[in-house]
């Protein structure tokens, strides 16, 4: 999408040195032209009045430059347009900001300045590109790399065009652009499967026969069986019609709950240390991608972030994109109500609830225990980063140690009740939990409703 912009005066903070920041848009004379004209006129006047022809020699370059500048002055207003090659990238990936200055007849040099933005890395690193118009069009390009998931604003780019000898200058600014950095999911795989499903599209097979791909057995033909299910070799041998029966393909409802009330630890983007929210978002993305690819339905709830970007249960690649978009829009602590805001939502009993939290407060564990008591399968993924307690302030370090002791007790209590709490370690993090769930699925259970 190309956006044509009216030219706007440049901000002094971001403009190239001394662009005509104040005053109306358009081509404006620069200090260089003023200097040239003033010195040339005064020196030639003195040369004539004082009979000093040598001053004419000194004034000659300035007078020639003045004439040259006036004769080659650009006549029309340039048109500035810009676009982001891809407004959505994965964190760590780069896209290109492209600007174009059309109607640049008479323009000598075009300079674009992109101010620095947090979590975005520009290339060239100085944030300045220069270009020369070809056939009246100057093309400008910056490579922009997203260093962290989230919605980043590419700052206004100031573009300044200069005429020959830098005597006239035009400047304009582009509006901000939004670059969405989708979380780069951690590597995740789960060997275990959850067989407590209700849908009919997933990879898991249920305990009852139905339409599906997995072989269950061969039985006699019954009214309503599809003709294509008839097993002809067996039917010929038996003398009566037999059909191949299958297990019904079923899906799992996976409910991801991300605790964004706090962001603990230092975030250095994709190339450095990860904060608790970094771990939670990347883990949620990985789990969602894993289950969506299996055909399961995945839903997302975010606590502590405003506005509410919860995603309803569904499956498919488009749904995965919706989940990643919602994860990218998380702003830690922007909803002070935290888990109390949407914590009363009760998932269906057959759902698999995965709560991702650094467990800095007891609220996520309380919610997990409440869900478990209702018979919901729930697991808590601990996303507290390592070394978070190492603080130069001894009082802060002491407070952290005390809180971690309390946290350890809370986790133990939750585990005693039957809520597993696992540390996020990427592939296989949930394997043991899923195997336990599969084992328990066949056993009778008692739930309070």
């Amino acid at each position: 999408m190309m956006i044509s912009l009216p030219s706007t005066p440049a901000s002094p903070a971001t403009a190239p040195a001394g662009s005509g920041a104040s005053g109306p848009p358009g081509w404006r004379p620069t200090a260089a032209l003023v200097r040239c004209v003033l010195l040339a006129v005064v020196m030639m006047a003195v040369a004539i009045l004082a009979r000093r022809p040598d001053l004419l020699v000194l004034a000659a370059p300035l007078a020639i430059i003045t004439g040259w500048s006036i004769l080659t002055r650009p006549r029309c207003e340039p048109v500035l347009s810009h676009r982001l090659a891809d407004p959505t990238v994965r964190e760590g990936e780069a896209t290109t900001w492209r600007g174009s200055l059309a109607d640049a007849e008479g323009v000598d040099v075009v300079v674009a300045v992109m101010p620095p933005t947090s979590w975005l890395r520009r290339r060239p690193t100085g944030g300045v590109v220069t270009a020369t118009p070809v056939d009246g069009v100057a093309d400008l390009a910056f490579a922009v790399r997203s260093l962290r998931w989230g919605q980043h604003r590419v700052e206004r780019v100031t573009v300044a065009a200069s005429s020959a000898w830098g005597s006239f200058r035009w400047s304009g600014q582009t509006p901000q652009s939004l670059l969405t950095g989708l979380p780069l999911p951690s590597v995740f795989d789960a060997a275990g499967s959850v067989r407590r499903a209700s849908g009919l599209v997933g990879l898991d097979h249920s305990s009852r026969p139905g339409e599906g791909m997995e072989f269950a057995g061969i039985r006699e033909f019954q009214s309503g069986d599809r003709v294509r299910r008839i097993n002809w070799p067996r039917s010929l041998r038996a003398g009566s019609l037999h059909v191949t029966s299958t297990w019904a393909d079923q899906d799992t409802l996976v409910m991801l709950e991300v605790d964004a009330t706090d962001d603990v630890g230092i975030s250095e983007g994709i190339d450095g240390l990860a904060s608790s929210l970094d771990l939670a978002v990347r883990a949620a993305g990985a789990i969602a991608e894993h289950y969506v690819r299996r055909g399961d339905r995945v839903t997302l709830r975010v606590f502590g972030s405003s506005p509410d970007r919860s995603v309803a249960p569904a499956s498919g690649r488009a749904h995965l994109r919706r989940i990643l978009d919602s994860l990218a829009a998380i702003r830690a602590g922007s909803d002070p109500r935290g888990l109390s805001a949407r914590g009363r939502l009760i998932p269906p009993a057959e759902a698999l609830v995965i709560i991702l939290s650094p467990l800095v407060s007891a609220a996520p564990l309380d919610r997990a225990v409440a869900l478990a008591r209702r018979g919901v399968t729930v697991v808590v993924v601990d996303t507290l980063p390592q070394g978070v307690t190492e603080d130069p302030d001894p009082l802060t370090a002491l407070a952290w140690r005390i809180r971690l002791l309390e946290r350890r007790r809370e986790v133990r209590l939750a585990q005693d009740i039957g809520v597993p709490v696992v540390q996020w370690r990427g592939p296989g993090s949930l394997d043991q939990f899923l195997r336990d769930v599969a084992r328990r699925a066949s056993a009778p259970r008692m739930a309070s409703r």
Binding site: G18, A32, I48, W68, I70, V111, W165
Partner: protein, 179 residues
Amino acid sequence: MSSAQERLDQLRSTSRERWAMVAIAIGTPVLACVAIGAATRFNPTGMCVAVAALALWAALRPDAHIDLFVMIAVVVFWLARIDDAVTPWAIVVALALLCHHAAMSMMAAAPHSAVFGADIIRRWLWRCAVVAAATVGVWIMVVALDHRHAAGNATLTLAALLALVVATLLVRARSVPRR
């Protein structure tokens, strides 16, 4: 971030082309003063230091009018020291002023970290060469006129001044944007 840190970062990110232009912007007025000193056998050290300091200040703010004072200082020094109207040192000083002006204009056109492509630098060098050739032509014309030892003429002087005024008004009309 402190101001000193910002300046340090700015220095670090300054491109090689910018450093070269700063060197030209400071060196050429000093070269002009040295040329004036050589023409008159006068030690211009004090003037060189003063002009270099002024030029450094101007190079830090290339789009301000500080540079005007650098060039005025050189011209006044020339007027004060040189009596020979046809001295070839005029070419050296004129070319030094040309290079200084070109470097300052180029610096004002872009931030300190801008990297100019080879095509842009070639174009500017070609323009400077054209203007330098025209300046040498003016000097040859001045020398030729000086050899004629023509007497002063009030009418011609008035006509020249009028032409200058008209040219100035024309330049102003074509450069200042209409409101």
